[in-house]
Symmetry: C2
């Protein structure tokens, strides 16, 4: 059972979509990554920070899914990171209403001793120096380090971001961010430039249009399952990354062929995430449902063609 | 060898892209559809209209590809339809600079006698009443009627468009147009509504994001090949439609499985079209190149996955 280190936020989210709004509910990158990765048999630990306002019941939801929480610091008298956002009608864009860093402002991640030899490290979206400090703590070189990031760090900490990107094997990034990071409109050219920055594998997430996996001159395109309704996109990218990381940790196979499968698993899990508010769907997801949707993915994309 | 009727414009285009600009060159929906369809062994006729300013050399380019031109009216003293457009840097949007209908304003399509029993009819983007008049001339019911249209007719001739849509088997439409036609953002819901308007098959073209084929509850997603550079998108949609129609005409098989292949052929041919200005790439395309790219398409999307 492969070990997986997940670093990222554990948070309160308050979400408004055209379908309704929530109070403060369970959210955060490490939460979504963890819930998604734990659909595989992996030995995962979440490295994060919360305040003592964070309900034990939420922590129990994670530990009940065999996510080790030894690396989650609970700050006495501190308040948990809080994000609030409102999605527009097209569900592809959103306004951030509130960002309260709270305890996250002083987050010094500590990887539990027992996980410093983990095979896979998943660096969720955080300040690139915080991501790097996790890598510094690993005592054996991980088989695969995956980094997720966003435009905020390109605007505010580009040099640090470049230094961290240098050290990772896989980057997951959305299409607009790939264009911002490289100044290239063509995703093929953008992926090549990111490749030159360090990562051997570049995953470009295109939301409802699916995801591209680049490795040298090879490319794989996993379309997203066309959905009748996207209820709440929050966490979809992290759920994708968690599925990707979890599948690699479980199989221990970092070949391009296996990464294709990891991308399909990631897309499949993300397609569930958006069906309900926050983590609700991921917390009520059976392996039978996952299997059924994997078959749908296969039907969606597979074809036989004779060359003439 | 299946018979294919193509109706659409044969035109002059003048194109500006970030890579350069052209004088008046060969363009038009029937041109691109014809060049694409004629990569298959089909007996195709183009039904269109030009002025006597249209060079015989351009007509020869089409007839040399075994496209019958008996249905192309040459108006003495008339001028050929002319379109000019400028693409923005992202290549996804464009401004129309000039539209001179000229002879197209009085186009009454006449299907050559020998093609009134054609198995496949491809109605290129034109006024829906003009498209309908082609169907009126068919003496035997075609196996498959495919209609391409655009937002212009939704704005200016919606009732006529609805009446023509009722009579076709397949509609090809882009994502924004599908949303406009149905008032639905979700493409799954939009496809279902278009299905209810008549067409049993709905193809939604998403440009660089590929194409979706819907039929009842089945869906197939053909991603677009990620390209290093899109040089000129003009004619890509028509080239897609021409590949689709040509493959169906050649095989005579209108099953969903075969339509998947038709979509893949259409995407493959469209991926060439955008590499050069106008028809240039389609006029210099070998079957070896098409085969190679079909294999790339297969590599791009195919995966093996074991259920666990």
């Amino acid at each position: 059972m492969g070990k997986l280190v997940i670093v990222g936020t554990i948070a309160f989210d308050a979400i408004e979509t055209p379908f309704g709004k929530t109070d403060k509910i369970l959210g955060g990158a490490a939460t979504f990554i963890g819930l998604s990765a734990s659909t595989f048999e992996v030995d995962a630990t979440a490295v994060s920070i919360v305040g003592d306002d964070f309900p034990q019941a939420y922590l129990d939801l994670l530990s009940n899914r065999n996510i080790n929480l030894d690396g989650v610091e609970i700050v006495k008298g501190g308040k948990t990171f809080f994000w609030s956002g409102r999605y527009h009608n097209d569900m592809n864009s959103r306004d951030t209403l509130v960002t309260e860093l709270n305890t996250l402002a002083n987050f010094n991640p500590v990887v539990p001793e027992n996980y410093k030899d983990a095979e896979v490290v998943m660096l969720g979206n955080l300040h690139p120096l915080v991501q790097a400090s996790v890598l510094d703590q690993m005592t054996t070189k991980p088989k695969l380090v995956i980094l997720d990031t966003m435009n905020f760090w390109m605007d505010s900490a580009l040099e640090d971001l470049h230094n961290t990107i240098k050290r990772v094997d896989v980057i997951t990034i959305n299409d607009e961010e790939a264009r911002q990071l490289t100044g290239e409109y063509s995703l093929v050219v953008a992926a090549r430039k990111i490749h030159d920055m360090g990562p051997k594998y570049v995953v470009i997430k295109k939301g409802e249009h699916g995801a591209l996996l680049f490795h040298n001159d090879e490319v794989f395109y996993a379309p997203a399952l066309p959905l009748e309704e996207v209820f709440d996109p929050t966490g979809a990218g992290d759920t994708f990354a968690g599925g990707f990381a979890g599948y690699i940790a479980k199989t221990g196979d970092t070949s391009f062929e296996n990464m294709k499968k990891a991308v399909i698993y990631g897309s499949t899990l993300a397609s569930f995430c958006v069906e309900k508010f926050g983590t609700e769907r991921m917390l009520n997801l059976s392996s039978a449902e996952i299997h059924k949707r994997l078959l749908q993915f296969k039907e969606l994309t597979q074809f036989e063609i004779e060359l003439q």
